[in-house]
Symmetry: C2
Subunit: 432 residues, 2 copies
């Protein structure tokens, strides 16, 4: 067989080096042997047939924005870089669906949908740089999940190339369908370990009319969560920033949010619900701003990550807990930060109970960040939650996956991997 199945590739040093790691900053040993640059599904099939015939481990990659090492590629592996397959194949306003290649940038799809009055709802913080394929691989979330759910809830069907190069179609182009077992859902969140998505049919949503955004400061996170619990209806967005995050934002933007209160809650709601939201937040808020311009009030939230990056290398963690345990989680995370004497800024998709404790790494004390992260994962499980709400497992949480899942579940997980990829060539060492 032709080298790499005849698929375009690069073995240039710069290309190989750029594909060895991802946004997690973690790396495995060495670097990939080559980076394949498929142009279409046929190229992906050729690459996988070649990989199967040679037993070569393949690391599928979108934009490399994984925060868990899911796209890291080391010695002996070949990267399948899908970022060049970035066409929006079709977009139907009448059906409220789009068919996209995996390399499409998420925000680009959202903008294309907006031209016909629709939105692609999932909006991970990385949406301007991450790809739909990567979002599918991790079942990515975002701010709007409060209302619209995660990536899984917007994916109707997939075209997938299996490990041996066979192409299968899953799901349908319809909003509902229960013809056979849910293979679509199985591929979503599987981090490229079960097959390679070459096309996705996604659901688009109407852009809601007349949203009101309210930013309210509270004495502490517990007060903010209590107030949020009294909010009527389903907020579109409900974001919480803790004191450490607010201090970082203040230093970056020149604001004085931390002085107002130790927690900032930003809620976006429909105009029907917003009077009730105001009534719920006002009694205990120490300050409150209302705007029909959501972007202005969300600016602090969207600036949080660059703000924290000023403090050092951020390790972006991702746990979820039952909503009622959110205050307890935020307090416990602050305790962990104090105990390990390491900054941890916490952002939360509060309506979903999904927290991003962002640990600022101290290179002089590498054990501190790792220990703090371990305590955060243990906390999530103790509170009845999960070690990952929307970022996935990758390499960094594999150990913890075995603590979250019971042995019989893990046995089935390994059985699934073996069923789809008996040779173990698809993103080996990730998830399981």
């Amino acid at each position: 067989m032709t080298e790499f199945g005849g698929v375009p590739f690069s073995t240039e040093d710069a290309v190989l080096d750029s594909r060895r790691t991802d946004r997690s900053g973690s790396a495995v040993e060495g670097r990939p042997e080559a980076v394949l640059l498929p142009r279409d599904a046929a190229d992906v099939a050729k690459a996988l047939r070649w990989a199967t015939s040679t037993g070569t481990p393949i690391v599928p990659r979108g934009a490399g924005t994984s925060l868990t090492g899911a796209s890291t590629a080391g010695t002996g592996t070949v990267v399948l870089d899908l970022s060049g397959m970035n066409r929006i194949v079709s977009l139907s306003a009448a059906d409220a669906t789009a068919v996209v290649e995996p390399g499409v940038i998420t925000a680009d799809l959202d903008r294309a949908a907006a031209t016909v009055g629709l939105r692609y709802a999932p909006d991970p913080a990385s949406h301007e740089i991450s790809t739909i394929g990567g979002n599918i691989a991790t079942n990515a979330g975002g701010l709007r999940c409060a209302k619209y759910g995660v990536t899984r809830d917007s994916v109707l069907g997939l075209s997938v190339i299996l490990a041996d190069g066979t192409r299968i179609e899953t799901g349908t182009g319809t909003f509902k369908g229960v013809a056979g077992y849910d293979l679509t859902g199985l591929f979503v969140g599987s981090e490229g370990t079960l097959g390679v998505v070459v096309s996705a049919t996604v659901r688009l949503r109407p852009i809601p009319a007349g949203l009101t955004t309210i930013a309210a400061s509270f004495a502490d996170a517990a007060a903010a969560c209590t107030a949020l619990a009294g909010v009527p209806g389903q907020p579109v967005i409900a974001e919480l920033l803790d004191a450490a995050a607010l201090r970082a934002v203040d230093a970056y933007l020149g604001t004085s949010l931390a002085a107002r209160g130790s927690a900032l809650l930003i809620v976006q709601a429909s105009t029907v619900d917003s009077p009730g939201v105001l009534s719920a937040l006002r009694p205990t808020a120490v300050s409150l701003e209302v705007s029909s311009d959501g972007d202005a009030l969300l600016h602090a939230r969207r600036s949080a990550l660059p703000a924290i990056e000023q403090l050092g290398r951020p390790l972006i963690e991702d746990i979820a807990v039952p909503r009622s345990r959110l205050p307890e989680a935020i307090t416990a995370i602050a305790d962990i930060a104090a105990r390990w004497q390491i900054p941890i800024c916490t952002l939360a998709h509060a309506a979903d109970g999904n927290l991003h404790p962002i640990i600022v790494d101290d290179p002089s004390r590498p054990a501190a960040a790792a220990s703090a992260a371990d305590e955060i994962f243990a906390l999530a499980l103790k509170l009845g939650g999960t070690i990952t709400g929307e970022h996935g497992v990758g390499t960094l949480k594999r150990e913890w996956l075995t603590r979250e899942l019971d042995p019989a579940n893990l046995t089935l997980q390994r059985g699934l991997k073996n069923l789809f990829d008996p040779q173990g060539i698809l993103n080996p060492g990730k998830v399981l």
Copy 2:
């Protein structure tokens, strides 16, 4: 081992006869040997350990409201009747979740949630008689799916007894989670062929404030669909009844809906969206009613099935098509009815492109109904849709499943079945 693993059981004639079929009216040969009546998860585990050790086929059953023969049980099988496991184990307003046993009646859960201002969103037409376990088995839908999605979108985690009696926990109690492959989604819609659900953690939703319901008659279904396409926002409900359905309702309720127009569209929307809904429907509607009492206007829709039952035994079909193909589907179904000279009344969850063509069986010409059904499934596939939107495959659509799914997909489906149930004792002959 003790007979049936020591689980309470019945072998009374009346009990066996009552569990041999389901609401599809179809049956397999003979009747079950026994009906097991587990009281809890431990009983289910005992039953499955016994079944594995004896190689006995087990037919899990809720309320027996399957419309596809998924609960039919014949000679040599033992029915595992879960309707007695009907406790709402917990319901948390703060977390907006509930933990329920599989035998809980769907509407009972919704009413329990309503006492704390929440709803369990999925509302199949059978919600007053069907169980959560059965809803999970078929990934049931309903009227409110337009806004809230199907059962899968409300199930966060499951406790499942596997074929060999092992208990596993899937998913989490949180709204988001991507720790490992999505086993929860795999069990939802699997019709009892992969494992037996003994507990489900479900998501509850806020009850939306201030809904407006609009019932509009149109000259034909195409005009109704065109008008619906112009509706802003996300309707909570959008139901369509065709001319044949309206005639049946008129005969049953003494109304004169069919005289107004050949299609009735009932849209429920938020007060923000309702002015826009009115603007979209009014120009082409031949009559229009607006009410804040949704139940009154939905009465015609909810009466449709009993109305059609007056005409004869209804075969309730269930296809879904891309939304834009809905008018074409309705017209083609009317043509099929005319060609086979058999009444077909069509109800549609119009916002989802999900149609229920209800064929009124003519016992003197059994081939007519079957042929019409076949043409309807072929139509669904021709229009880019699916042979089942929310009722599942059961025994009645197995043949058609092999036409909808490509061979590689089917191979994986069979591999999944074999992985979870290597002896093939779980609801054999269903789905695959």
